[in-house]
Point group: C2
Chain length 489, copies 2
C-alpha cells in the first residue's frame, strides 16, 4: 500500500512510530502495536515502525512519522512510501523461549540485541526479555554473550595501544570520587584510560556531574579518541556517545521498575568497558551495612562472577572489596567532591579519599604486573605529576586552564547536641539530604562532612555543613534533617 | 510548576502522555517515562501522566497533552495547570514482589488493577506484571482476586433476575458457532443470557463477526440492558463496552508476545462473565489433536481450575469437554457460519452443529437443575420458538426483520484426487485458508466443508468449496492450498 509521508514534529524518545488512520490501518489489517515495513523503493531504504492509529492530524492516504522515524527514513514530506505489514521478528520467539526458562544461544541473544537496536522490538517486547532474564536468571555464558552482542551492535572505540586500563565501581557510597584520581594517576604513569562514566540517578553526584564542574563531559567518540591519544586519559559522560547503545535501551526499561537482573548488570558494566577496548579492568565492590552489597558473602559471589565473565570475554579483571558503610571523602555534591579531588591531587585533602585512590591505582598496577606498584603511585601523586596530568585532561576536554570551583553562599551547620563517638553514618540519608539541598543539578549544593565513624565528638562540634543555592532548598533540607538521624553518635 | 496546556492532536491508543520541553523537564528533574501529577486547582481535577520530552512542537512554559490525556484532564488550551513529579505508585512494589515469586494479597492485586485503569502504571510496568504472573505462576486464589478486581474497577451490568446464564468456549475450533444457538434457546426457555463475545483475532470468524452479518453488535451497556430485558438474550461485542476494562489492557500487552499466563486467562474469562452478573456459567473445552488443548489430561486440569475459581467467585460453573479435532458445522467464515446457524434454528443445517448446540443447552439446564432438560431443548428448537426468539433479538439489537445473508460470487471447488476415507481435518490450515480467502473482514468469504472425519470419499468428490469476494484473494487461497493438506484421506 502506498501512503504519503507526513512529518509529526514530536519525539518519542527512541521507538520508531508510524501513524495511520483507522481506515488505512483496517485496509492493511493493522492493530496498534503491530509492525509495518516502510520502503522507499528508489533508494532501497527501509525501516520497521510500530503502528499507532489516530483519527487526528493524519488524513486517509497519509502516514505520519514521529521525529525518530522521520529521521531514520530520511524521507521528505509528501513523498510516497510503500507500507506493508512486517513479519514478527524471530527474536520474539527467543524472548518467549527465555520466558520458559530455556538458556539462549549466542546467536539468539545477538538477534534480540540487533532487533532492540533496529527498533524491531517494541518497549513492551523488550520488557518481556528483561523480566524473563530477571525471573529465570541468566547463565554466566549468556551474560557474556549479551555483553558481546551489545558491543558488536554498537559503536566502538579503537586505540593503537595493546593495553587499555579501566575501572568501575558498583556504587552506592556518597562521595567516593576515585575515578578522578585514578585516571590522572594512570595516565601520568603512561597508560591509556578512556574512561566513560554515568551521571547520577539517585546519588548526589556521578563522576560526570562532578567532572562537569571543570570541563565539558558530553564528548563525541571522535573527541574522546583525540583527548585520550593526546593525554592518555579522559573522563567523559557515557550518555553522550553511542557506545553499547543497546544497553542504554535496556537500562531505561529496567529503571522503570528499578529491577536489575544480575546477568544484565554484569553485561551492562562489561559492555561499556569492552566497547572502548579495555584490556585490564579493576572493579570496586563497596560492601557492608548501608551499601548496595549488604554482606561479605554477596560481595564474594559478585567478585567471582566478574572474574569469570572477564575470562569469557578475554579481559583481565581484578576485583577489590572495599568498605561501603560510610561516605568516602568529605564533600558530597558535584563542586564539593571536585574540591576534595583537587585537594588530594595537590597532596592535601581528605585522608580516606586519598588512601582509596592510591589503593585502587596500586591494585590496577598489580593487575598489570608492575613492580613496586604503591611506590610508583605515591611518587606520581606526591610529585604533582598526577595533578599536572589532571589539568592537561581538563584542557583537552575543553575546560578552563585554571580549575575554578564555584561555592554556595548559603549554608547551615549541623552540630552535635551531645558528646559521643560516631557509630554510624547513613549513606542513604546523606544522599537524600544532599539531593534535597539541590545536588547534583545545583553544582554547589550538597554537604561537607566533618566526621567519620569512630571519631569522638564534643557537644557543639560541627558534624557537617549543608550547602545550597537557594533558601528554599536549604530550608527543605533542614526540614528533612529533622526527620532523620544521618549520623549516630 | 505552572505550565500552559497545549493540545496535541494525536492519539496514543490508551496511555496518558504529557510532553514537556527539555528545559522544563530539567527544572522538575524529570526523565522520559517519569510520572507527573497534573492539577487544575480550581476544579480539583487531577490526572497522572507519563512524561515524554520533546524539543519540537512544544515551547518552554507549555505542556502538551495527547488526545487521551487532554480529554481526561478536561482542560482548555492555554489554561494553566500545576505540574509536579508524581510519586511512584505503591502498585510498583507489588509488581516487584510478584517478580520475586511472592504471592500477592487481594488488596495488592486490586491496587495494581486500579492503577492500570487509572493509567498510573505504564505499559512497560504492566508488562512486568504479566511477565511475573507468567514466569512465577499464579495461585488460584490470586486469579480469583484478579477477577474480582477487574470486575470492581470496571463497568458492570445489573439485572433484576436472580439467575443469569452464560457460556464460554475456549476456542480453537473453526465454525463451532454454538453461542448463536444457545442464546436463543435459553432466552426462549425464559432465562436471561446477556452474552458478550469477542471478534476473531486469528480465527476466520468470532461470534461478533458472525452476528454482525444480521445486526449491529457494538451496543452500549444501556442498549445491552434494554435488549436483554426485552428479549432475554443478546449477542453483543465485548469490545464496545467498558466491562472488565482492565482485562482489555492486559490482553493487549499479552497479545504483543502471545503469552497467556494461565491465571490471567482464567481471570479474563471469568471477569467478563462476572461483570454482567452471570450466576451460572457453562464452559466448553474442545480438546484433542489440532485444538488449543492437545490432550485429555490438560483438559481435565483446566476443567478443575474453572470449577474451583467459580467456587471462589461464588458462581456455579459447569465444564464440558468436547471434540476439538475437527471443525463444527459446515460453514467457515461469518456469512457461511451464519447460514448454518439459521438452518439449525429452522430445524435443518449441519448435524454436528445442531447436536453440539442441543448438548450445550441441555448441559446448561442440568446446571440449573431443570428436569428432563434435553426434551425441553428439543421442544423449543423443533417448535420454532428458538428461531422466533433469535429474530426477536436481532430486531432488538437493531437488525433487519428478515435475516438476509449475503453470499460470494466467486468460488472454487476443492475435489478429492483419489478415493478414500477422511482421516483428519486440520483446524489450523482450514482457519488460515479461510482467512486468506478474506474472512472475517469480507463477510461472505471462507469455505463450506462437505466432509467430516470418517466420511468415505470417491475420486472427484467435492471436499469443500472456497468462497471469496475478489479474484486476487481466491487466487491467493488457491495458491496456499497447493502448499498444504487440510484434509487427509
Amino acid at each position: 500500500m502506498k501512503l504519503k509521508v507526513k512529518e509529526v514534529k514530536l519525539s518519542t524518545g527512541g521507538p520508531l512510530i508510524a501513524i495511520l488512520t483507522q481506515k488505512d490501518a483496517r485496509l492493511l489489517d493493522l492493530s496498534p502495536g503491530d509492525r509495518v515495513l516502510i520502503k522507499r523503493p528508489k533508494v532501497k531504504k527501509e525501516i520497521t515502525c510500530v503502528v499507532d492509529i489516530s483519527s487526528m492530524g493524519i488524513k486517509n492516504g497519509e502516514i505520519g512519522f514521529f521525529e525518530e522515524a522521520f529521521k531514520a527514513l530520511k524521507a521528505k514530506s509528501k513523498q510516497q512510501v510503500e507500507v506493508n505489514l512486517a513479519e514478527k521478528p524471530k527474536s520474539i520467539y527467543y524472548i518467549k523461549k527465555k520466558l520458559e526458562g530455556i538458556e539462549l544461544s549466542g546467536k539468539e541473544i545477538n538477534e534480540i540485541v540487533k532487533d532492540i537496536i533496529a527498533n524491531k522490538l517494541s518497549e513492551v517486547e523488550t520488557t518481556y526479555f528483561i523480566a524473563a532474564c530477571y525471573t529465570k536468571g541468566m547463565k554466566l555464558r549468556e551474560a557474556a554473550k549479551l555483553t558481546q552482542s551489545i558491543v558488536d551492535n554498537g559503536e566502538t572505540l579503537k586505540f593503537k595501544s595493546k593495553v587499555l586500563v579501566d575501572k568501575h565501581c558498583i556504587g552506592g557510597v556518597p562521595g567516593n570520587r576515585t575515578t578522578m584520581l585514578v585516571v590522572p594517576i594512570m595516565a601520568a604513569l603512561g597508560y591509556k584510560m578512556p574512561k566513560t562514566s554515568s551521571r547520577s540517578i539517585t546519588s548526589p553526584a556521578g563522576t560526570s556531574d562532578t567532572m562537569e564542574v571543570l570541563a565539558p563531559v558530553s564528548l563525541s567518540t571522535k573527541k574522546i579518541k583525540k583527548v585520550v591519544n593526546k593525554t592518555g586519559g579522559c573522563m567523559a559522560w557515557g550518555g553522550a556517545v553511542n557506545l553499547a547503545a543497546a544497553d542504554d535501551k535496556l537500562i531505561k526499561l529496567r529503571h522503570d521498575l528499578s529491577i536489575d537482573p544480575l546477568g544484565m548488570m554484569l553485561a551492562s558494566i562489561m559492555a561499556k568497558k569492552k566497547s572502548v577496548g579495555s584490556t585490564h579492568v579493576l572493579i570496586d565492590i563497596p560492601w557492608g551495612k548501608g551499601s548496595k552489597v549488604a554482606n561479605k558473602k554477596d560481595a564474594i559471589k559478585l567478585k567471582k562472577l566478574f572474574i569469570k565473565i572477564g575470562k569469557l570475554l578475554g579481559m583481565k579483571v581484578k576485583v577489590v572489596m572495599t568498605d561501603g558503610t560510610q561516605p568516602v571523602g568529605s564533600g558530597i555534591g558535584p563542586a564539593l567532591e571536585c574540591s576534595d579531588v583537587i585537594a588530594v591531587l595537590k597532596g592535601d585533602g581528605p585522608n580516606d579519599l586519598r588512601e582509596k585512590g592510591v589503593f585502587l591505582a596500586t591494585e590496577m598496577l598489580k593487575l598489570l604486573k608492575v613492580r613496586r606498584p604503591k611506590k610508583k603511585v605515591l611518587d606520581i601523586l606526591d610529585s604533582g605529576k598526577a595533578y599536572k596530568k589532571f589539568r592537561e585532561i581538563i584542557i583537552a576536554q575543553g575546560g578552563l586552564k585554571r580549575p575554578n570551583i564555584p561555592s554556595a553562599d548559603l549554608f547551615y551547620e549541623y552540630k552535635a547536641t551531645k558528646a559521643g563517638k560516631v557509630k554510624e553514618i547513613n549513606n542513604k540519608q546523606i544522599s537524600k539530604l544532599a539531593r534535597i539541598a539541590g545536588a547534583p543539578d545545583d553544582k554547589v549544593a550538597g554537604m561537607y562532612l566533618r566526621v567519620r565513624v569512630h571519631n569522638k565528638v564534643k557537644k557543639g562540634h560541627i558534624l557537617f555543613t549543608l550547602y545550597a543555592k537557594s533558601q528554599t532548598k536549604l530550608d527543605n533540607a533542614k526540614k528533612y534533617l529533622k526527620s532523620i538521624k544521618p549520623i549516630i553518635y
